[in-house]
């Protein structure tokens, strides 16, 4: 029921929304919860397990009962707390976990079976037969117990991530937080002030007392205006700080556009990583319910929530309100209601010494012991100290068991809060998060005055640590009433008394856990699911601990708490992972020839993050093999062009560069003459092969190393490691130039003719012998030419600065095509290298040694190098090892498959008989047969033998001949041209 003119909502701006299809109206500034209460909608949800009718319990992000689904279809958002969702025109909210409807929920039959469904029921009941668990029990349980559902459709909504840095992060904008932010902001420090709410001020907006001679909410609004006017302060409403991490890093979830109908390109949510030199935690406190029989009916709320709805939203949650409390603070609710003209039926206070009422009756030393009303509260019964029980007609019960400081963030780095006997709750341990200080209610200081003082003092301390001069803030006049409380956790009586409303955990469940010897708080939690719902026990943990302590005959302090972990509020995976979808997950690296290759119809394949052309289909070709065979023949017969820019290129310079390369490569480079290129093999320190490639000596103190595409990053890291960590005194420096140079292989008998047509310098066997290199000028552009070959043909690689790559690629293709050649892709490149027995990472896969690939002699005996000592270990060379060989089919079956295993002919194809495995395969159009590279035990000594290849996965068995891995031109005549 709305009270005309009361509250901070905009009474002049009505907002239309719907709940379960029913059209309703609220005001700008309402949450879904306040707007529903204004429309007297009390039943909004069904509970998790028993499908009990539930209403609205609180008014903040800790809400345990009023979970709804917003929207429908792909963007449907389940488990939204109605207390957090602001309404906007057209908002469509739906109840969840009920069928067929909220009012008539068939699954509420669970409630009748409640005596059988207590904690531990599933563990004990659905044990046998085992197969039934996955097929029957679990699906049925999941169907009936649960909260909202996802749509199952891809959600195209947009989330963002952001990073921020500040001197002081203030978490919470209640009195303590505002005071801290004001003190630091005025001193000129970089301040970020985060608050979960849309309206900053915390409890100041929910109370009626004055601050500095004006309404508390006005003071808050004025302070926020000042903070927003300061250029060094960032005010972030609707932002929950979700976690505290190492070295002053905090996670925060900003709800950017959940509250508007038109997003206008804004993300739905933004996940922030905030790095703060200091932080002030002013997270406030959460009022706890009291566990009495049937304390979960719609209309039973926390006392502070009733005040918030009344004072901030101008909504009376009931017409005859009863208050049930064990502390003075809850009496404010009665006073505010009476002042607003709402009837207060009674204040039932468990304390014999409770204060007198002004305009309402206080029943002292009494406890509420039951409630009535299936879908909305109708009456509560209470028991006086003398044992007599009475009943009071009421449609809203405002209960308060006291306040729990919101200590959560202080526990995120393993801190355990301390028990505070004065407030009967836990308070943070100072220093639990380095650089963070808790102030105000979350530090157990419950008066507004204390909050102001602690906020100001903590800010001054933080500023002092940072060396920022600050003036002491004048703390405004405000209430400083003492917090009087006597503990009351659970009221005895017939019927279930809820602790965790969200997970349907009752007092009896916790007692049952203790009875079954789950006495440790962590065991109790897992046995009962207490505190495991989306609210993570914010409302219920302390009371549950108290019940467990009582049941086990221990104190609460001794019983301890469970572990609070991030995130403080539920965070969608989409927000955590914002930016990590699609190309955000795996960025695409394109070569300079990419557009031209795609234009020519080449299917692109991924090589790490790079995209490379698979093959270039010609007119009439229907399969990749047709294109591949043609391209191989083209390279062997005339000339082919292939972009090899993706190979890692590392520029290495310095007086000691040669000596450095001698140390990182197994073979020697210091003896290489300038203008020459050498193949190099790199080992890991454990003696296995890391990578290979060619390195050119451009000048005496200048080398250019190439690495494989896959290992480019690893090799760069490794070179820096060897230099900085092992031989920092060598005069050498290195940098990756992979993206600075576009490089193309020009391969085939006519490669030199092609290049002589475009390169200014004369190219012959004299100027560019095999493994020679030197400068090359193309159209006035200074480039480099290397006579190296990965195809076995007379071939070159030509490099130009990347900005000329595209035009050089087009020029090379134009010339090649005029000579009967053209572009070739990865498939042909692979065939060409297999025909020559050249290795890739399919062979040097991390478990092979130099000797395994027939390069044992490359490891120089004259010098030390990385991996040399360990490569000499017994067992890393010799006939026990699997060695690189070639395979050719000799039987009826011609297929060789990668990954297949090798067996002696006639041997049973089982693992214990395995002799080796196939690493690379192709069909060679040159030799007109399938070819395979393989590792075979003692393979070098077995050339000419027959071996059986068995592919268990594809069901292929092929008789093969073992041969040298170099199938074509073993003398190397072609390459020398």
């Amino acid at each position: 029921m709305r009270i005309a003119g009361k509250g901070l909502v905009d009474h002049g701006t009505p907002v239309r929304f719907s709940f379960d299809g029913r059209q309703l109206e609220g005001f700008q500034g309402d949450t879904l919860a306040s707007a529903l209460l204004a429309n007297d909608v009390k039943l909004v949800a069904r509970s998790f397990k028993y499908h009990r009718p539930r209403g609205i319990m609180g008014a903040g992000s800790e809400e345990s009962s009023a979970l709804v689904t917003i929207g429908s279809g792909a963007t449907q958002d389940p488990n939204v707390r109605a207390t957090v969702q602001e309404i906007y025109d057209g908002l469509a909210a739906h109840s969840q976990n009920c069928w067929p409807s909220l009012n008539y929920d068939l699954l509420s039959v669970n409630d009748l079976f409640a005596p059988f469904l207590g904690a531990g029921f599933y563990y004990k009941t659905f044990m046998w037969p085992k197969v039934f668990w996955e097929k029957l029990y679990e699906p049925v349980i999941r169907r009936s117990a649960g909260i909202g559902a996802l749509s199952g459709k891809a959600n195209a909504e947009y989330y963002e991530k952001a990073f921020a840095f500040c001197d002081l992060l203030v978490i919470g904008a209640g009195p303590a937080g505002l005071m801290a932010a004001l003190t630091a902001g005025r001193a000129g420090a970089d301040v970020i002030l985060c608050d979960e709410d849309s309206l900053l001020g915390g409890r100041l907006n929910g109370e009626t007392f004055e601050v500095g001679g004006m309404a508390g909410s006005d003071w808050a609004a004025e302070t926020v205006r000042e903070l927003e006017s300061l250029p060094n302060v960032r005010v972030m409403p609707r932002t929950s700080v979700t976690g505290a991490y190492d070295q002053g890093t905090y996670g925060a979830l900003e709800r950017v556009s959940h509250h508007v109908a038109a997003r206008e390109g804004r993300p739905l949510e933004c996940f922030w990583r905030i790095v703060a030199k200091r932080a002030v935690l002013a997270a406030g406190a959460i009022e706890r319910p009291v566990a009495f029989p049937n304390n979960d009916r719609p209309g039973i709320m926390t006392a502070s929530a009733v005040r918030t709805y009344l004072n901030r939203y101008g909504v009376a949650p009931g017409q005859r309100v009863t208050i049930f409390a064990n502390n003075d603070d809850a009496h404010r609710t009665a006073r505010d209601l009476v002042d607003a003209g709402v009837h207060v039926a009674a204040v039932i206070d468990s304390r014999a010494e409770a204060p007198e009422g002004a305009g309402y009756e206080v029943i002292k030393g009494a406890e509420v012991c039951g409630s009535e009303g299936r879908k909305g509260l109708e009456a509560v019964s209470y028991r006086r100290a003398d044992g007599s029980v009475d009943k009071v007609q009421t449609d809203c019960l405002a209960m308060s068991g006291g306040w729990n400081p919101t200590v959560h963030l202080t526990c995120h780095m393993n801190g355990r809060p301390n028990w505070h006997g004065g407030i009967h709750s836990f308070v943070p341990v100072p220093g639990a998060i380095p650089g963070l200080e808790a102030v105000g209610a979350c530090n157990g200081a419950f008066s507004t005055h204390r909050a102001f003082v602690e906020g100001a003092e903590a800010a001054l301390r933080a500023l002092g640590d940072l060396g920022v001069k600050a003036k002491k803030s004048v703390v405004p006049e405000s209430e400083d009433s003492p917090y009087r409380i006597e503990p009351l956790w659970a009221v005895a009586g017939k019927g279930r008394a809820w602790l965790d409303f969200q997970n349907d955990v009752t007092v009896k469940d916790v007692q049952g856990a203790a009875q079954e010897n789950f006495r440790s708080v962590e065991h109790m939690k897992r046995y009962t699911t207490q505190g495991m719902a989306p609210d993570q026990g914010k409302n219920s943990n302390v009371a549950a601990l108290a019940v467990l302590a009582d049941a086990t005959g221990r104190g609460i302090e001794e019983t301890g708490t469970t572990t609070f972990r991030p995130p403080f509020v539920p965070v969608a995976i989409a927000a955590f992972g914002a930016g990590g979808q699609g190309t955000g997950f795996a960025p695409q690296r394109h070569t300079t020839s990419h557009a031209e290759s795609v234009r020519r119809g080449a299917p692109m394949i991924e090589a790490g993050l790079w995209y490379r052309p698979s093959y270039f289909p010609a007119t009439g070709e229907r399969t990749w093999r047709q294109s591949c065979d043609r391209e191989v023949n083209m390279v062997r017969g005339t000339v082919g062009v292939c972009d090899v820019s993706t190979l890692g290129k590392i520029d290495i310079q310095g007086k000691d560069a040669g000596q450095f390369l001698d140390f990182v490569y197994a073979n020697t480079f210091s003896t290489l003459k300038p203008g020459k290129v050498r193949y190099g093999l790199m080992l890991r320190e454990d003696g296995f092969v890391m990578d290979d490639g060619t390195t050119a000596r451009i000048a005496e103190d200048h080398f250019v190393m190439t690495t494989t595409t896959a290992a480019a990053g690893q090799v760069m890291r490794h070179l820096e490691y060897v230099h900085q960590c092992l031989c920092p005194d060598l005069d050498v420096a290195m940098i990756s130039v992979t993206e600075q140079w576009a490089q193309f292989a020009v391969a085939g008998p006519k490669s030199r003719d092609l290049l002589n047509g475009i390169v200014a310098e004369e190219i012959d066997n004299e100027s560019f012998p095999f493994m020679g290199c030197g400068p090359a000028t193309i159209g006035g552009v200074a480039g480099r030419l290397f006579r190296i070959s990965f195809s076995g043909e007379h071939a070159y690689e030509i490099a130009v600065p990347a900005r000329y790559g595209e035009s050089l690629f087009k020029l090379l293709l134009e010339r090649a095509e005029a000579m009967g050649g053209g572009a070739y892709g990865m498939e042909a490149l692979n065939v060409l290298r297999i025909e020559k027995g050249f290795i890739t990472h399919a062979e040097i896969h991390g478990r092979v040694t130099a000797d395994d690939i027939g390069m044992g002699r490359l490891v120089s005996a004259k010098k030390d190098c990385i991996g040399k000592t360990m490569s000499e270990r017994p067992g890393l060379s010799g006939e026990e090892r699997e060695q690189l060989v070639g395979l050719m089919p000799v039987g009826v079956v011609k297929q060789i498959t990668a990954g297949a295993h090798l067996f002696e002919p006639g041997a049973e194809p089982v693992r214990s008989n395995a002799q080796g495995y196939v690493t690379s395969v192709c069909f060679s159009p040159t030799l007109e047969t399938s070819l395979g590279l393989a590792f075979l035990r003692n393979g070098r000594a077995r050339h000419g033998e027959e071996i059986t290849m068995v592919d268990h996965l594809r069901g292929v068995t092929t008789r093969c001949k073992v041969c040298d891995p170099v199938f074509l031109d073993p003398e190397g005549g072609r390459v020398r041209g």
Partner: protein
């Protein structure tokens, strides 16, 4: 987590690549024998407390950094350029 690169200043740990124990700086002599090499390559302590490891500022200045930190409190106690540390080790040995 934040790591102070001796060259660039304090940076997010995402800018760094981690390899493990800084014992990697203490490469044995080629003739030091199997035991020394096995220890160098394969044997690692797993302390609950202060540890020293190598991080590479890969998305930054490419410096290898020796980070002394506490595995229990996650405190970063000290950062030092690996090449400085290596020079100290070599000087200490000679």
């Amino acid at each position: 987590m934040r790591i102070k690169c001796p060259l660039c200043g304090e940076r997010d740990r995402r800018e760094f690549y981690y390899v493990g124990d800084a014992v990697l700086l203490e490469r044995p002599d080629p003739e030091a024998g199997d035991h020394a090499w096995d220890t160098y390559l394969h044997l690692r302590d797993n302390p609950a407390g202060v540890t020293r490891d190598l991080w590479y500022h890969e998305a930054g200045c490419a410096a290898w950094v020796v980070v002394t930190r506490n595995t229990v409190t996650h405190e970063v106690l000290k950062t030092e350029l690996a090449e400085k540390r290596r020079r100290k080790l070599v000087e200490g040995a000679s």
